[in-house]
Amino acid sequence: MLPQLLVNGLIAGGIYSLVALGFGLIYSTTRFFHFAHGAVYAVGAYLTYACWLSGMSLYAAIPLAVIGTSILGALLDIGIYRPLRQKGASSLILLIASLGLFTVIQNLISLVFGDDTKTIRSGTVTEGLPLFDARITPIQITIIVVGALLMLLCWVLMKKTKIGKAMRAVANDPELARVIGIESDRVILFTFALGSALAAVAVILISLDTDMTPMKGFYALLMGVVAVIAGGVGSIPGAALGGLLVGMAQHLGVWKIPTQWRDTIVFVILIFFLLFRPQGFLGKAVKKAAV
């Protein structure tokens, strides 16, 4: 039982880490909670489904869907968030705007595809490969490997490339970044495109393993937000660790506690972190001025 729960936790953790990574990148550069990320995530799955329905092979459908989702993320920034930023909207107004967007996009998906469960799994269900005392399917191995690879790539991108450094500069101080000639709007646009692409990869991987419903994005986003806060905002290893923590807590929790409390465990962890370590495992402590 325990090895299987660990494997399940690792797989869930891989997915949450990817969501947390995308969400965290966007949060650290723009400083607001982009809740519509959950809807963007769901769009990734449904784009793949639509391409697949129109007769494409999955190998063609997946890259198309990732690109499409990435464009959607960029369009949200250009169409909604950038005008709001230019009007000087506070992060709370942006948060409320993103909640609105979330609902609109999710309802649009329901409108077009219906509320019922869809699947892009093909082929017959086979027994997983044995791994110690647990079983793991090839697609689940892919989830873990792709997740780890993307984490590494993003880490390299943030540390070594020019755009990554610009992202960190904007995250650190948008004013100062503008002073030294970084166009923060372009950097933010790139962040939205990158974050949305990561969400699309995560959702496509999980859809290959299980099924999709329009509500799925909300759930993944919640877990992603908890992972970001637990791991520390703006830290890529933090997002990975936070995702693993959430996945493991969920799956090891059900070992002793009835399954319906799985999500409650996660929210208790969230509040615990917010109260006692709001900067997360690896984030830096920031203190508001005090008297």
Partner: protein, 294 residues
């Protein structure tokens, strides 16, 4: 006619909810999305007490308010340490936990099946058993909460709350115990919201967890349009007025009833800076021009 009364009763109940949230979010500036949790505690306390112990309306109300006040202390606690959007996320966590207790503690709450057969309210041996009587009761409580909160925010106590909203550190530097005020506001606001839950449970006589979701918390914000309160008060120098919370509740209730769909479908449009909602926004504009003319 009954239908019209039904809508009026719901408006009165939701007005209490919005007025109490206004105290927390509008006057003190603590943007909480856990309000439906307080509302739900009031409703569940009412349902469970009146079914298991045959207690009457007022006793249910007192116990519900005590429960919600206790939750208020817990929800307020993160606001002492974290601010702004982190606080929103913390309240979000509380909302989800309380909702999952309603939904998952099957032994106590019957979970998604809900609790049917809640007796009608009775006050001093007088049964509130038709729409007219209930409307009078609901309006009475809505009026009382309105007067109470108005009295509160126009007092020196209310001025401290507004100071906390505008600049917490400044309020602290004047020797105000900001932490204690924040907790008190959540206790008062939570207890008031539980009264709305109590009325709702006695009125509908059936409750289930779907009435107390995060969406309920958020639409209360849209009804009240609390974000504007600070702006308006700064512009006009006076109080932002209570018309808007009640008006927003009225617009949403009626539109929801008329079109038979969720309020969020109608009102959840991406808000711009100028108008969060067409409905509450128009109302807000009237208010803001009034405020500016003063």
């Amino acid at each position: 006619m009954d239908y019209l009364l039904h809508i009026l009763i719901l408006i009165a109940i939701y007005s209490i909810l919005v007025i109490s949230l206004d105290l927390i979010a509008g006057y003190t500036g603590l943007l909480s999305i856990a309000h439906a949790a307080f509302y739900g505690i009031g409703a569940y306390a009412t349902a469970l007490l009146s079914l298991h112990f045959q207690t009457n309306f007022l006793i249910n109300m007192i116990f519900g308010a005590v429960g919600a006040a206790a939750l208020g202390v817990i929800v307020a606690f993160p606001s002492l340490r974290i601010h702004d959007d982190y606080f929103v996320i913390a309240t979000f966590g509380f909302q989800m936990i309380v909702y999952s207790i309603f939904n998952n503690w099957i032994g106590l709450t019957r979970g998604p099946l809900g609790i049917p057969g809640i007796p009608v309210a009775s006050l001093f041996g007088f049964n509130i058993d038709n729409h007219w009587k209930f409307l009078i009761l609901a309006v009475l409580f809505a009026g009382l909460s309105y007067l109470f909160v108005r009295k509160l925010v126009n007092s020196p106590y209310g001025r401290v709350l507004k100071a906390i909203r505008e600049d917490e550190i400044f309020a602290q530097s004047l020797g105000k115990n900001v932490n204690s005020y924040k907790i008190q506001v959540f206790v008062i606001g939570g207890a008031l919201a539980s009264i709305a839950g109590n009325l709702y449970a006695h009125y509908v006589t059936f409750i289930d967890p779907t009435s107390f979701t995060i969406l309920e918390s958020m639409s209360s914000h849209f009804d009240g349009d609390h974000r504007r309160r600070g702006q308006l008060e700064r512009a006009g120098g006076g109080s932002g007025g209570f018309g808007r919370p009640a008006g927003g509740a009225a617009v949403r209730r009626t539109s929801e009833q008329r079109r038979g769909e969720s309020a969020t479908d109608i009102l959840w449009k991406p808000p711009s800076l100028d108008d969060a909602l067409p409905a509450a926004g128009t109302y807000g504009r009237i208010q803001s021009s009034k405020a500016l003319n003063e």
